[in-house]
Symmetry: none
Subunit: 204 residues, 4 copies
């Protein structure tokens, strides 16, 4: 069978595993439960993964990549505007059933990584990349006068990064109906970053 099929099957398994993790927790991800979720036999799993740990990692990656892709989609191009900020962040938050699942899995990953060095390393590398990207965008906006430059770019980055993680963590424990409202305040926060001149211009 061709490689592409093999890979797409791996993704199916990873997604099913992610569903199980999101719905019932990492401890509920057993080979039997996964086979049932997939509607196949236990033995199939070992054709695509060498161990359960590989499956767990794949499920984590599946969720992670989907959150990233979701945000990437919301980023227009390489010429960032402050007005893009809110949509992009919203795209990264668990504000619908799909991203809710992804975040549940990602939070499992983060907790998992606390005591699993390999995963921790991966998580930290990814985080660092993301933060670097963010930092560059913010500095770029400051250079272009789209974001007030009297606040250190690094501080804005750190704040935004921590805030998003914390928001996601808290939103995912909130009923879906109230999440939009709960995250609305971010909009006001972002306004604080607008350069004073344009601020005035806007409010005028």
């Amino acid at each position: 069978m061709r490689k592409v099929d093999h890979d797409s099957r791996r993704q199916e398994v990873a997604e099913a595993a992610a569903r199980l993790i999101g719905r019932e927790g990492l401890e509920a991800l057993t080979t039997r439960a996964l086979a049932k979720e997939l509607g196949c036999s236990i033995g199939v799993l070992s054709h695509y993964f060498n161990s359960k740990e590989e499956i767990v990692i794949a499920a984590f990656q599946w969720a992670d990549q989907r959150i990233d892709a979701r945000m990437q989609e919301a980023i227009a191009g390489n010429d960032p505007h402050l007005d893009d900020f809110f949509p992009v962040i919203k795209a990264g938050l668990p504000l619908n059933e799909e991203s809710d699942l992804e975040w549940r899995v990602r939070l499992n990953l983060h907790t998992f990584a606390l005591t699993h060095g390999e995963s921790l390393k991966t998580v930290r590398e990814k985080d660092a990349q993301f933060r670097d990207l963010m930092l560059m965008m913010i500095a770029d906006m400051q250079r272009k006068g789209r974001l007030r430059d009297d606040i250190d770019a690094q501080i804005v980055t750190d704040t935004a990064f921590d805030l998003v993680i914390g928001m996601a963590q808290n939103l995912v424990k909130t009923p879906m109906a109230g999440r939009e409202a709960r995250s609305e305040y971010l909009f006001g926060l972002i306004e604080l970053l607008r350069p004073l001149s344009s601020n005035v211009a806007k409010s005028a």
Copy 2:
């Protein structure tokens, strides 16, 4: 009767369980491992807890209460000043080995709660209480002119709450040495909350 304080023994067990969770993860908390960590036999555990689940809950509570107590300690009285804000929040963050353990356990709890309704309910209730308390303090400070009142108190609360969770989540994955520096930016943020007059006064 042998002289044993039942409650304090329960706390010892809960603490040992928390150590295991923090060090090796929730999955590593087995009765055997716990007995070993405690330096006693397996059977002891059932004297103090009816099930492993009870032990897990106790460990979660142990950590939770310690973080709360740590913050409580840092709160001077019921007459809050903005200058207390940073120390209080710092007291709540994982900035030393002790609170690092507590936060590792708490993060395990939060992930656990995602798929365990009972725990989720408890977590949400605790969060709600904490947010209410925070909201009242902030509003109080606004009334007393110690915090700028042109920002909605609820927004400040939500921001602070999400930010702290997110910071903790990220700090705990950072080497201890860099954590103080990494959390320093909060100081600047809090300055933004200072009333303009006093801000001027200060900067003057």
Copy 3:
């Protein structure tokens, strides 16, 4: 403490154990459950019995002796009449709550004995004694013309013995309300043993 107290305490323990066996089965007789049933601590048991097996045996004996005593009570003297037969046997059957418990325990003993040589030996010896006594009584009655002598005494004994065990076994699984009626047929059976002459006399 005096011997008599020690012995009476043993009896209390044995009775409590019997209650547990009768109510919930032999497997439910644990040291914890027994201590609770007695309203004392676990440690007490080891003052009166060296092992749980001893307790089990004592419970079995307690029930056995009560059934025997109940029958003994119903036997007038050493000059047996056929008219005594039915009352005596009825006294030996589980026809009220008290004897129901005793029989439940005895049936547990009999099943236990199937795979416990020591107990089997005891049971068989007791059975043999009882059958010998019965045989002598029946032969005596035959000699005195109170029981038809055209049936072998040994056969009557064997029948009666098997029948009583079987009745008890079946009665104990029947609701208490129906047991008297269910055992009534024995009366008719005993009439069959009446010598033909007295039979005629009676029916005349």
Copy 4:
């Protein structure tokens, strides 16, 4: 799929469990002991049974059905004769090693049922069916003049039923060598049921 007949494998497990119960008692039926008796690993058991309780029930049923089948085999047809009575009952008694095992297990079931409502219900239903069948056969024989009709059919049934249980209970505690002789008396008892006319004819 490996070629394994699921149902027949269940029967194998049930039989092995029955052997253990018969040989060492219900308490000796542990999963580990059963796996050893079967010559397989512990995990196999959970492929065929969801719990140990299911295994116990299956073992009980296995024994029960074998006793029933043994008796069924001995029943010629639907036209019962008194001369069939003894062979049929003998077929139901523990007079060889095979039926000895079955009865040991059945007696364990009966004692088990005393404190396990579900099993009790099953046992009582089966008993009731058997007694109904017996009653009909006896009444049939009376109608056809093959069994004296001056004794109530119900009484004969009750007697026979109690007697068989009692005999089995007592035989199984008797060395195999003596059992045939011990049960011989039943033959004489059955003769008492023969209609007087044929009785006369026979004795003449």
